[in-house]
Structures are given as C-alpha cells and as structure tokens.
C-alpha cells in the first residue's frame, strides 16, 4: 500500500508539472503487462497496456525496441505476439540472426541520430535531400532483396513490405 501511495504521489507531481506546461493530462487505471520469451537463449520481450478506456499500447522491448502496430481490442495483442514469436522462432534458427539484430539496432540508432540532427541543428536543404536519397536507396535495396529471397513465413502477409 505504501509503495502504491508513492506511485500516486509521483503521478500527482507529474500531472501538476505537465498541466503547467499546457498539457491535458488524463490518468487511466490500467494493467501493464511485461511478457518475456526465451527462444534457445535468445530473449524476446514485450510490454503492453490494457485498460477500460479502449486505449491500448504494445511495444516490443527486446531484442530491440519497436512500437508494434495498433490493435483494436485487448484480445488482438495475443495474436500479434503469437505471430511475432513464430517469426522470431524461425529467425533464431537462421544464420543471419545476429546480422538481423545488429542492422535493426543500428536502424533504431540512426532514427535517433536523425532526430537529434534536426532538433539540435539548422540542417541545410541539400543535406536533407542527400539523406532522403540514401533512405530511398536502402528502401530499394530491401525491396530488391525481398525479390531475391525465399519466403519462409506464410501465416500472414507482411504489413510493411
């Protein structure tokens, strides 16, 4: 009970500070769920939140952080995790798994660097065009690689490819 009271006190302080910054703050009672799988020593973890307001959040936190697609009801989250798990079980047996995790982590880091670049510096237009061109190159490379690679998962089609 005492720890819960500290949480409430902390939440009240956040509420007050954010309201003074101009935010509209709504505190929602919810269940925060941490989910962990151990696939032959490879750790896969998620965090998701279910609540009565119908606002749901799911994020994969390991092997690298990634917001997952939105889901309409709390029951959908199990299907999303189930598919993700099946795909990672396949991927773990692949000899490219280490490269896959490294590339995904680097892409995440690149997004953060890009954000810092634009938020901390006045970037010349020519540089933004160069970066855009490099991103197009990567996207084309991913599309080409897809054409030349054997599909191994068929339960559902890719969401972004």
């Amino acid at each position: 009970m005492r720890k819960y009271r500290y949480v409430k006190s902390e939440a009240s302080q956040h509420d007050m500070k954010l309201v003074q910054l101009g935010a509209k703050v709504e505190q929602i009672n919810s269940k925060m769920c941490y989910v962990k799988f151990d696939i032959e020593g490879f750790e896969l973890a998620y965090v998701y939140n279910i609540n009565k307001k119908g606002k749901y959040f799911l994020e994969r936190i390991k092997p690298y952080p990634l917001p997952m697609r939105e889901f309409k009801s709390e029951s959908d989250v199990i299907n999303i995790i189930k598919i993700d798990l099946e795909q990672f079980k396949n991927a773990v047996n692949s000899r490219n798994i280490d490269a896959f995790v490294t590339i995904s982590t680097e892409l995440n880091r690149t997004i953060k660097q890009f954000e810092d670049l634009f938020l901390y510096y006045n970037v010349p237009k020519i540089e933004t065009q160069i970066i855009m061109g490099k991103i197009s190159e990567i996207q084309k490379e991913i599309a080409n690689t897809k054409e030349n690679s054997e599909r191994v998962y068929f339960t559902k089609d890719p969401d972004n490819l």
Binding site: M1, R2, R5, Y6, K8, S9, E10, S12, Q13, M16, K17, V19, Q20, G22, N29, K52
Partner: protein, 424 residues
Amino acid sequence: MLHNHVLVAILIFSLTYTAIISEKINRTVIAMFGAVLMIIFQVISQEHAFGVVDYNTIGLLIGMMIIVNILKKTGIFQYVAIKTAKVSKGDPWRIIVYFTIITAISSALLDNVTTILLIAPVTFVITDTLEINPIPFMIAEILSANIGGTATLIGDPPNIMIGGATGLGFMDFLMNLAPVVLVIFVVTILLLKVIFKKSLQVKEGNKNRILDFDETKTIKDKVLLIKSLIVLGLTITGFAIHQFIGLESATVALFGGTFLLLISNIDPEEVLIEIEWTTIFFFIGLFVLVGALEEVGVIGFLAEKMIDFTKGDLVMTTMLILWLSAIASSFLDNIPFVATMIPLIKNLAAISSINVTPLWWALALGACLGGNGTLVGASANVIVGGMLEKQGHKLSFMNYMKVGFPLTIISIIISTIYLMVFYI
C-alpha cells in the same frame, strides 16, 4: 476450557501485535490472520466476530474516501496550493505557514493520509521550483496534519473509532478538542519558525518563478468541482447536526459518498478501486482481535488493574491515559493501541464510578498528537519519509525526532493543562 481460551486469546493477540509493531509482515494481512485464528480456536464465534466489527467506523471511512477520491479528480487542492503560494510571493516561510493551515484544515475534514497525499506532491513541485530543501516544509505538514486531524471526529482514525464506540458526535469532538488543538497549532507554528527560519533562503529569481504558475489550469472539471463542493458542504453540515437528527456519522458519510457517485457520472469502479481497502480490512481484523480479547475477559481484567493502580482517581487515570497514549503512539501504530484502549475505558466506566468523558478526550489527544513524536508515529509520517527519500532527500529517524518529539511533548503539556483546567 475457558482458561484455555484466555491463554489462546492472549497468545494470538500478543503475537499479532508483535508482528504489527515489527512491520516485518503486512499489518493488514497479520491482523486479518490473527482475527481468523481467534475464530478457528473458538475464542470468539464467527457470528460474534462479525458483531464486534464497528461498522460505524468502517462506513465513515469508506464514505469519506469516496468523497475525497472524487473531489481530488477536480484539481481543487492544486488550485488552492498554487493560489496561496502565489499570494506568498514565493516567500518560503509564508508558504510553509499557508500550507500548514491548508493541511490542518483539510486534515480536520479528511483523514491525515489523504491530506498528505494531496498536499505533498504540490509541495515538492513548489520546493523544486524554489530550489530549496523540502524537508522543513514536509515536517511542518506532517505536524499540522496530525494536529489538525485531532480536532474533529473525522480527522484521524483514533477519533473515528472513539466516536463509533461511544456515540460522541462530530460537534462533541469539535467543541471539546478544537480549542486546545488551535492553541497547539499556533504554538507549533511559532516554534517551527524559530527552528527553520534560517534554513529557508531562496534566490529572488526562483521566487518569481512561483508567480508564473497558473492555478486556473489545475481545475479539470468545473461542473464536477461544484457538485463535489456542494456534497462536501452537505456532508459536513450533516456531521454538525447528525446527533440532533438521530443519524450516525457513518450514515452521513455514506450518504455524501453515494450521492456524489450518483450525480458525478464517474464510473464507480474508478472511484471504488481507489479506496484504501487494506486500511479497511486492517480495522476489521483489529476489531475482531480486540473483541475476542474482551470476550474472554482480558480487557475487563486490565481495567480492574488500572483502577487498582490509579485508585479510581480521575486526575491520575486521565493523565495516565493521555501520556501513555502519547508515548505509545509516538513509536507504535496508534490504531491498534486505540482499538485496545476503547473497551478498556468502557470497562472502567462499568466497574467504577469514574466520569469517563475526560478519558475519551485524553485518549484522542494522546493518540493523535503522539503520532507527531517520531517518523513512525503515524501513517502520514511514514509516507512523507518514503516520499522524501524517493525525491533524494533523506529524512532520518533521529533528524525528524529532534524536531517532532519535543514539539509533541509541548503539545501534550498543553493538553494536560487544558484537561486539568476544564475537565478535572
């Protein structure tokens, strides 16, 4: 058989009490477990165990918790705190004075823990802004919460329990305790000024940052605020007249709580989930434990011993209860202590010709004010200690006691004079 029941009852009660004091096991769990053991070992029947639970106390606590849980959603407490901080123009000592007044008044109308949970977060934001150590502010708020709570029937759990057991009403508590509480509060504030004044230095720039706060942003739902304040006003009026219209205080609180639930359009689950059920079940467990002890005659035996010790002298008995309650409540949870003392005083009334009314006020003053003695004396103190630690400001047991204990002794001396002059 009966002799065995006495031994079993004393054993279960002592072990449970020890476990509560040790804080090694959750107090609610151990109180409920001890209560169930009393039934299993047939010290008290299940039917009688349910009968000894004081539902007036339970109903009053639940009713007020419902009202507060809805009221706090409106942002009114933040509004009042920011408004007063701005009126003080960022002067730390004036903020302490205003916040302690808010805390004392709120604590008289709500329970201490709730008051602290409402005022502490605002205080941390203000002290962060002023870039000043929050410890003097928080010590002042602990003291004023416990002092303010002493003034009314609904201000502190010991008073709620005394009211529930004796039929003494809201106005009885207000008329008999508020005058001395007011004196104690003023003396405490004056002494706090002497203790803390030198440590409250802030930069002028930080004072101006307080003026940038916008209190109007804190009100989240104006309609709900108006409804809540009307219901709170009705409830307090109900407390003021409940004895004259033949209603128990729990009925008034539950009317206020359920009426506000009805008109607020808030999901009742959102409100009821915030009720401190662990506290409610702790009370239920204690009532059964003490009821079982009374059932087997232990409380009556202790009352006889007390009469033998004091020779039935009212002055000595009153002083014994006042000072014993104060010292015990400084170091122990005052709720189980008061739960045990209530049937003891009732037994005193039954076996002697003593006028026990001053004893109830002595118990209320001792148990409530005694909570200020140490950092573990009351739930509000423990919570503030934890909050400060989490904020990176460690308030040690001794550092609190250096301020809290002498001020407690002074408040009990004032109470002693008050009881001697007006009641004995």
